[in-house]
């Protein structure tokens, strides 16, 4: 296991009187694959939002590569190598698949704040870029290259979103429920894509159903009502009595 690259300490987020995330500690090492599970409303996505800069925590701090990024913009975190996907497959629906990928590649090659370069670069320049071609092939999107994303299936959109994240070449890739709403076949395809990323970068996957993550993640973090109730290897976590009590479906589904 490599050095620690991401550390969250005592992260707390309140919405009014509701405590969505309650003093959560989390650490991630280079190359590690971690799953975060828990029932709906457990605070998984809010925790994600705190780490990636969508929300600012009320308490606690986030360190990435030793830097305090608690209040850094999402853009800054992306520049450092912390990239996320969204629960509702988040792509640019009005653009063709290839342009979605080009936008991801461009921001990695150049700074996303270099407007002059944005203005001076024709999209066409990247149409045949090997990195874009690779992404299309690896994520089985070659046949959809010129299709406007609005017309893709949910599974295809998920693969596209992950392809975009991978084109950013992050150190840490955080995926928020990448399997939600997919058919068995599509789950298979997305999991294949995720497995291909193991060893290239650290992965954090939020998932509602723990069964999909078994055999894939090295470590599991179980959340319930904003708190971490168990952490460790998937087997240990699922044996944990508190997990079984408060989140019996975890046990039921994995059985």
């Amino acid at each position: 296991m490599g050095p620690q690259i991401l550390l969250a300490e005592h992260l707390t987020k309140r919405f009014g009187s509701f405590v969505a995330v309650d003093r959560v500690d989390f650490s991630l090492h280079e190359g590690e694959v971690v799953g975060i599970v828990g029932p709906n409303g457990a605070g998984k996505t809010t925790f994600f939002n705190l780490v990636t800069g969508y929300h600012t925590p009320d308490e606690g701090r986030v360190l990435f590569l030793g830097q305090d990024v608690t209040r850094a913009s999402p853009r800054r975190r992306v520049e450092l190598g912390l990239v996320r996907t969204f629960q509702l497959a988040s792509t640019f629906d009005a653009l063709p698949v290839v342009d979605n990928l080009i936008l991801a590649l461009f921001s990695r090659l150049h700074s996303g704040s270099d407007v002059r370069r944005l203005l001076a670069t024709p999209r066409r320049r990247y149409y045949d870029d090997p990195r874009v071609q690779d992404a299309l092939e690896q994520f089985h999107l070659s046949a959809r290259r010129d299709r406007v994303v609005r017309h893709l299936s949910l599974g295809e959109k998920r693969r596209l979103e992950i392809a975009m994240a991978v084109l950013s070449n992050p150190r840490v890739l955080m995926l928020d429920e990448p399997l939600a709403g997919l058919s068995e076949l599509e789950i298979h395809q997305v999991m294949d894509v995720l497995r291909s990323q193991v060893g290239r970068r650290s992965l954090v996957v939020v998932e509602h159903k723990v069964s999909h993550l078994l055999g894939f993640v090295q470590r599991l973090m179980v959340m319930h009502e904003g708190r971490v109730i168990a952490e460790g290897s998937p087997e240990e976590c699922l044996k944990d009595p508190e997990v079984r009590r408060s989140y019996w479906r975890v046990g039921a589904e994995s059985a």
Partner: protein, 322 residues
């Protein structure tokens, strides 16, 4: 046909038609269509590419027009320099305003722009009346000197200048569509969060788009100023605030030819229909309702697929579509 040839055909055919109109249609009509299409291209870019709906375009129109008018009334005589001054004042004005406005959500953006138009109108009519001559406006038609090649001080020279400007502005927005910036604008329109989480400085992108578009609107204002040789606070009137938005939708939001088609239809109704029957606004309103009911694609958005089928018209690269 290769791609480059097709590109030029795409530019020249519609503009050749407009140029031909110079000999068939009344000159004021052609000039008005050209200037209004420039004005609408700006609005079309804001609405169709960046997702900004603005009911305050007259403010930027006036920023350009008054820049030109101040120069030609108080300082110089060269209309070309006047237009450059108008362009610069429009750029500075929208750059400053943009710093605040671009941060707003689209519905507030629409209204705050309307408020801006009201403020500019008031400024020009009352507050700055010693300089702007209030409602009497600034007259400088006789002050303008002749320019070589194309005499901007005369309508038959000016029409070709306006034609060149319209071609240039059209080509600029066509170019923007083909850049990563164009893709980024459309991306911002559809999914702002994702743009941020992909590492883009979304504020800078939208601010640049805003300044480009409103400088274009100011350019249209400068053209109006030089053409009429007269600028009054009417230019910023909020009563005409919806016009560019209406014409954008009429022509087909987010299409490249939409502003041209929309301007022809709109100015056509205003100038030609009003000669036959009164209340041209009634017919524009009626047409707008029909177009919305027909699928919101506008005149060009409806015609284009039909034309494409007729002319076996193929595009080289996947175009940015609304």
């Amino acid at each position: 046909m290769n791609g480059r040839l097709r590109w030029w055909a795409g530019v020249l055919v519609p503009f050749a038609l407009l140029a031909a109109g110079r000999w068939v249609l009344p000159l004021p009509f052609v000039v008005e269509v050209l200037i209004f299409s420039v004005y609408t291209m700006a609005c079309n870019f804001l609405l169709g590419r960046v997702g900004f709906i603005s009911f305050g375009q007259p403010a930027y129109l006036a920023a350009g027009a008054y820049g030109t008018a101040f120069y030609l009334y108080y300082f110089g005589r060269d209309p070309l320099v006047g237009i450059l001054v108008g362009l610069a004042s429009g750029a500075v004005f929208s750059a400053l305003v943009g710093l605040v406005f671009v941060r707003l959500r689209s519905d507030y953006f629409a209204l705050v722009n309307l408020a801006l138009a009201v403020i500019v109108y008031h400024l020009m009519q009352k507050v700055l009346a010693p300089i702007t001559k209030g409602d009497n406006g600034l007259w400088f038609l006789d002050r303008m000197s002749s320019t070589p090649l194309l005499d901007l001080a005369r309508p038959d020279g000016f029409v070709w200048f306006a034609w060149l400007v319209a071609v240039g502005v059209w080509a600029l927005y066509k170019y923007l569509d083909d850049t990563v910036f164009g893709a980024c604008c459309l991306a911002t329109k559809t999914n702002e969060d994702k743009v941020k989480f992909l590492g883009y400085h979304d504020f800078k992108v939208r601010w640049t788009a805003f300044v480009l578009a409103n400088t274009t609107a100011a350019l249209a204002g400068s053209l109006y100023g030089v053409y009429f040789g007269f600028v009054s606070p009417e230019m910023a009137s909020a009563a005409r605030a919806a016009d560019p938005v209406v014409v954008t939708i009429l022509g087909g939001t987010g299409t490249l030819y939409g502003p041209l088609v929309g301007a022809v239809a709109f100015v056509g109704m205003k100038d030609l229909v009003s000669g036959v029957v009164g209340n041209w606004e009634f017919f524009v309103g009626l047409l707008l309702v029909v177009i919305m009911l027909a699928g919101e694609r506008g005149i060009w958005g409806t015609l284009e697929p039909w034309l494409r089928r007729r002319l076996v018209w193929r595009r080289p690269a996947p175009a940015l579509q609304e």
